[in-house]
């Protein structure tokens, strides 16, 4: 879209001409002088040619003067030129010369014909001139309106897509023209802040703003006012939309918090109840008299195992509440990832004796800055998950390495993998695997919370149908050196 600004001044004068005919003395003097000069010039030419051609034929040259004035100055001036031409022709060239009387009636007819022709030609030329001017004016008006419409359309589309009316308004004005100083701009301020020669027009929106246009770029008050009116309506609509969006976001947040609370209560009531039931049942079973020693042992083991499960669940809930409250408070120190993994593997193997955990974390892996106890919890959660989701006796592998400014530990299981549709949600609390009895659904949420609180990242990598790999990554930091 070409910038229509340069055509502005022409538009302005055309609109003045249409509006009010200001007849002032200066203008009459200029037109008068033009008429006299043109008639005088033709008279000179006719005088030169007087010797070679008959004067009645040469009289037609005055039509030229009438045409020029008609095109330049319109019908009234053309009329005046025609009359002056007849007078000049009569005075200078028709016998008796240098008098305004006509001796020959033949010459009189010729003069009359000339006058009529001059008038008709003058009128035709003047009409053509008016029509051209009108067409030009319409074209200019159309392009001015188009410019306004474009600004409004841009404003409307940016308001609809954007979040903040004030910035959108700034940007809207910005997009309109890239030249500096900007031909038109807008801002939401209480008082106008004009820059060098700008016109300021108030935008009458609920929270008023100002529209600034540069007259030298073709902006006049009338078009700015039209634009301001339309912008005001758009701004009000956009504001209303903003308010509605804010309200609905707050409502959505509240709804989600509610959903989390409900899920939490559900998880607590369900997950805590089953181990409690098992413990109570086993304990009352122990009261039976004459219980064979192996049953006695089995019941005691059940109580121990279920109590431990219960304790872990409560620990998970506490961890999660700390994470959600932003109260993880890591005790950051130099940590050996291999050490944390070893501790975690030992715990998980003690609990689930069925799986072999392959450890391939180099002992010389760079140290990271983190809380060692929290790291251990991260890896024991990941390993517990890996063991639960892998078929019995299938391998769970932990590997480590560094590169690209990071230190990474990967935990890979041989489970069914996680479908891509669920990958984005697995780090959310209370999201569980598809099979029942797979834990609280808090493990990965806790992992993510603890890792992130320690400045690391956790991600799920390649999981194409055969196992999942969780990668825990920490930034590689300059390694400390021993002073002695």
């Amino acid at each position: 879209m070409p910038d229509p600004a340069p055509r502005g001044p022409t538009l302005k004068s055309a609109m003045d001409a249409r509006g009010r005919h200001r007849i002032d003395a200066a203008r009459i003097a200029v037109v008068g002088a033009e008429i006299v000069l043109s008639v005088a010039a033709i008279t000179g030419v006719v005088a030169l040619l007087d010797e070679v051609a008959p004067v009645t034929g040469l009289g037609v040259l005055y039509i030229l003067a009438v045409l020029v004035i008609a095109v330049r100055r319109g019908q009234i001036a053309a009329l005046a030129t025609a009359v002056l031409s007849v007078l000049a022709l009569n005075f200078f060239f028709i016998e008796p010369r240098y008098r305004l009387t006509i001796a020959d009636s033949h010459n009189f007819v010729a003069l009359l014909v000339f006058l009529v022709v001059a008038l008709v030609v003058g009128r035709l030329a003047a009409t053509a001139r008016t029509q051209t001017a009108e067409a030009e004016r319409r074209a200019l008006l159309a392009s001015a309106r188009e410019r306004e419409a474009m600004i409004l359309a841009q404003a409307a589309s940016s308001f609809l897509s954007g979040e903040n009316v004030a910035t959108q308004l700034e940007r809207m004005a910005d997009r309109q023209t890239t030249s500096t100083p900007r031909a038109i701009r807008a801002g939401i301020t209480a008082a106008p802040e004009t820059q060098g020669g700008e016109l300021a027009v108030r935008i009458p929106s609920t929270r008023p703003g100002w529209l600034y246009g540069r007259p030298d770029a073709g902006w006049d008050r009338a078009s700015l006012e039209r634009l301001a009116q339309a912008l005001a309506r758009l701004i009000d609509l956009a504001r209303e939309r903003e308010l509605l969006a804010e309200r609905s976001a707050a409502a959505e947040a509240a709804r989600r918090a509610d959903a989390t609370k409900t899920a939490l209560l559900h998880a607590i009531s369900h997950d805590l109840r089953s181990p409690l039931t098992a413990i109570t049942t086993a304990a009352s079973g122990l009261r039976q008299e004459g219980l064979p020693p192996e049953d006695h042992t089995a019941l005691l083991e059940a109580i121990e195992a279920e109590s431990e499960r219960l304790a872990r669940m409560v620990d998970d809930l506490l961890d999660l509440s700390r994470i959600e409250a932003g109260a993880v408070n890591p005790r950051t120190d130099w940590c050996d990832l291999a050490d944390a993994v070893a501790r975690a593997a030992e715990q998980v193997e003690r609990r689930f004796g069925t799986h072999q955990i392959e450890l391939d974390v180099p002992a010389d892996l760079p140290l990271v800055r983190a809380d060692a106890a929290q790291l251990e919890r991260v890896f024991s959660n990941l390993l517990e998950n890996a063991v639960k989701f892998s078929p019995e006796s299938a391998a769970v592998r932990v590997s480590g390495g560094s590169g690209g400014g990071r230190v990474t530990v990967r935990v890979t299981d041989s489970g069914p993998g996680i479908p891509s549709s669920r990958r984005s949600e697995i780090f959310e609390p209370f999201v569980r695997g598809t099979e029942p009895g797979q834990g609280s659904g808090l493990g990965l949420a806790i992992c993510r919370g603890l890792v992130e609180a320690n400045g690391g990242e956790i991600s799920l990598q390649g999981s194409a149908g055969k196992g999942s790999t969780f990668a825990v990554t920490f930034p590689l930091v300059a390694q400390p050196v021993e002073a002695r």
Partner: protein
């Protein structure tokens, strides 16, 4: 090891836990005594000092950390702290305040009794210059370490670290304590020294260094040489 006559003060305000602890301790041959609050605990120690104390960190009238601080002003009585998972900060404060060791709830009987035994064994009493743990043998006098009869070469610093842990075997040795005893005053915060040297020691003494059996990490707190 005989526990005859040794008395353990249990400080906790949960009746069920106190009851269970008393049963376990009595079963292992200790005499028991109980206190429910910080004040009761301090009074009990002042009136008739026990041989050891098992202390919960959360008491109705204060923190177990305050009890540790108070008692350490005038007594070296072994203190084992009961702590919950995730309470690392409080646990470390208790150790800094003078507690000897900690045990994380829920704990097993064996674990509790092992900690108590180690805490009651006085460091100075150790006359045995040679300590054997499974296949690992540490000769403190000859500064020699061997595994399955094969001599292991340790650097002087590695041996010093292992020596401190051996003298306190079964007991938690905090980072500060290790750094202070091996590197000397002013090095107590250089925990990265420990990470590196412990990894080296493990590579030499552990049958499977990636799964340490002898030299155990207590994350964020210190190290422990397993007793048996």
């Amino acid at each position: 090891m005989s526990t005859d006559g040794q008395r353990v003060l249990v400080v906790d305000d949960e009746p069920q836990i106190v009851r269970a602890l008393k049963v376990i301790l009595r079963g292992a041959g200790y005499a028991t005594q109980q206190a429910e609050t910080k004040q009761e605990a301090l009074d009990a120690v002042a009136v008739r000092p026990p041989d050891a104390m098992v202390l919960d960190l959360i008491l109705p009238d204060g923190s177990g950390v305050e009890v540790c601080k108070e008692i350490r002003r005038w007594s070296g009585l072994p203190i084992i702290v009961l702590s919950a998972v995730g309470d690392e900060r409080e646990k470390v404060r208790a150790l800094d305040a003078g507690a000897d060791d900690y045990i994380t709830k829920p704990f097993g009987t064996d674990e509790l009794l092992a900690r108590l035994r180690a805490a009651l064994r006085r460091v100075g009493e150790e006359s045995e210059p040679r300590v054997r743990i499974d296949d690992l043998e540490v000769d403190l006098e000859a500064r020699e370490v061997s595994s399955n009869g094969e001599v292991i070469h340790l650097t002087p610093i590695e041996f010093d670290l292992l020596r401190v842990l051996t003298r306190h075997r079964g007991k938690l040795v905090t980072h500060r304590q290790l750094l202070h005893e091996v590197w000397g005053p002013g090095f107590e915060n250089e925990t990265h020294y420990l990470r590196v040297h412990v990894a080296h020691i493990r590579a030499k003494i552990e049958p499977e260094p990636s799964r340490p059996r002898y030299l155990v990490t207590e994350p964020g707190v210190g190290y422990r040489l397993r007793e048996d």
